[in-house]
Amino acid sequence: MKYDAIVIGGGLAGCTAAGILADAGRKVAVFSEGLSLHDASEGPASHKEQARPPYAALSALAAKGVTVFRGDSIIRAEMSEDGSQVTRVFSRNLGDEPLEAAAYVLATGKFFSRGIISNMEGMYEPVFDADVEFETDHSKWFDPDFFATQPYEKFGVKTDSEGHVLKGGISVANLFAAGQVLAGEPMSDSDIEKSGRTAATEVLKKL
């Protein structure tokens, strides 16, 4: 299946980027592993009284013509020989069906959504094995002051000055990252939305 852009992650960053790309008339697919917390509800905890139903953001994208893959995620990617381009990706549910796009947006979030995975050896990004910025000394991941900004919150995927994701030190020309998967200061919701918009703007320059 072929698209102009494939957005990996249906959270706030991914939905923001996908919405802008769809509004610009591009053919977009979004892969959303599970229901994102931001798309769960805006109302009180009781789902009977919530202000909007779950999946409202993904449904709104579908109404704009975006192809939404709920409950599916991209699990592996193929790169060009020189490592400067993503050539195609594959999802868990679609199996051997290749998914191709001119540009890809990585918006998989951080630890909760497994956009970044940590283990005793370190941290990695599971889809592209993109470069992750983190502290190698495990004891420096945490601040003993519970209420302080925790160092691990700043770990994430490395990008170049134009927002391209780095892999093996090389800028991947058609891969952008948005939202909390990025390395840097912890983000507020408006920061996440802003980074989704920035990624979409960069993608539109490519298309």
Partner: protein
């Protein structure tokens, strides 16, 4: 996924985020149901300690798997609930009238085999009468609002052997067809449509050496041992057959691919990748140009595609949607994926009828709106791969529902 899980169904991965609770269609209409988190991972922790903690309200689970689609952590909540119902909730139920009803509803092969014959018109006629419905409602507890899917007066298999099998030798390449109960006993036309599409694609069709009902209705009605026996027969047939085993029903397919190993404990890794819906097999071959289908130029139809729950869980709806979009003259709307509420045999039981209809209402109203927008100038149909969704949507809206395979067959140039 973490490498160190010791449970089945990814129990340890549950973070108690409650996203599954939010999307459960049953919980939204029935407060007696504890919801997927409590019925699944929460309850499982207790049940492991002591089976006494088993809650009979788990019978309300529709097995729609919408909880699994929503879970960000890959917990197989629905499978866990099904497995708990089998392990802790099964009773020898045929002794009561409701048990007899559950057995009759679940035994699609036995009842279908008896009824899809010369007696079909008589059986269909009787089952349609108000008297029969009142009796079934009062005694067995089959809701009086329900109409049984009509039985065919001849089985698909009989037709295939008589009319189609000889012609298949003309094709060098073959696919195996797991037709399932619905195409065999209730609606042989679907099987005929399958043969038409596969032949038009340049492939021959062969039946499996043996085929049994996939067992989904047995599993959800508490007859797991029988479901396991049938599953073993099917998997054995698949192992003997070479090449793809193609299907037309999303629920049978999901059962044989996912629930055989996860719920019934039947390993299927060696054959799983060969079991798939026709559209899943067809789409990549149409894309690569290996298969070309010639469609009529005078075909006109407006279609609203409904992603059945098990189709959504497998995530294969896009294969069907893309093929339907290739048909000239077909105008496609994709409906929001919502549960129709019937859940196989669940909605046929009188104690469940109201829940079933309440759950389906969101989908029904979207279908009615799509129909109103489409107008009357061209034929309008809902397309879905699930036969029980078909019965439910037709009973509840009066709008015809077709399997996408039948739509593709109708659109083919002669």
């Amino acid at each position: 996924m973490q490498e160190k899980n010791i449970s089945t169904a990814n129990l340890e991965q549950c973070l108690k985020c409650n996203l599954c609770t939010l999307v459960c269609p049953m919980l939204a209409v029935n407060e007696q149901y504890p919801g997927p988190k409590k019925a699944g991972p929460d309850g499982e922790r207790y049940r492991i300690k002591d089976p006494e903690y088993y809650d009979y309200a788990l019978k309300y689970c529709l097995n729609c798997k919408r909880c699994e689609v929503a879970c960000p952590s890959g917990v197989k909540i629905g499978d866990m609930i099904q497995a708990a119902r089998i392990k802790y909730g099964s009773q020898s139920k045929v002794r009561s009238l409701h048990g007899l009803r559950d057995w009759t509803l679940a035994s699609t092969d036995f009842v279908g085999g008896m009824t899809a014959s010369a007696i079909a018109p008589i059986a269909n006629g009787i089952l349609k009468t108000g008297m029969a419905k009142a009796v079934l409602h009062g005694t067995l507890g089959v809701d009086k609002h329900r109409t049984f899917p009509a039985y065919s007066s001849g089985k698909f298999e009989t037709w295939f052997r008589k009319e189609a099998q000889a012609g298949q030798s003309a094709f060098e390449k073959k696919v195996n067809f797991y037709h399932g109960c619905y195409a065999n006993y209730n609606y042989p036309q679907l099987g005929k449509d399958f043969v038409k599409v596969v032949n038009a694609a340049g492939y021959g069709v062969q039946l499996l050496e043996r085929e049994k009902c996939c067992g989904i209705a047995l599993m959800s009605n508490g007859f797991a041992a029988k479901a396991i026996r049938q599953g073993k027969i099917n998997l054995e047939s698949f192992r003997k057959a070479e090449g793809p085993v193609l299907t037309v029903s999303s629920s049978c397919t999901h059962m044989m691919r996912e629930e055989y190993p996860e719920v019934l404990g039947l390993p299927n890794e060696d054959v799983k990748d060969r079991i798939m819906l026709l559209t899943r097999w067809l789409y990549p071959r149409l894309q690569s140009g290996e298969i070309k289908l010639n469609f009529r130029q005078d075909f006109h139809m407006k279609v609203a595609y409904h992603t059945a729950c098990h189709m959504q869980r497998m995530g294969w709806q896009q294969f069907t949607i893309e093929i339907l979009r290739m048909i000239p003259g077909l105008e496609l709307t994709v409906l929001e994926p919502n549960c129709c509420g019937i859940s196989g045999t669940f909605g046929f039981k009188k104690e469940n009828y109201e829940y079933s209809q309440k759950i389906g209402e969101t989908l029904f109203s979207e279908i009615r709106e799509a129909k109103a927008r489409a107008g009357d100038s061209e034929p309008f149909a809902v397309a879905t791969e699930c036969e029980t969704c078909k019965w439910q949507i037709e009973m509840s809206t009066g709008i015809p529902v077709m399997n996408p395979v039948s739509i593709i067959a109708q659109a083919l140039a002669e």
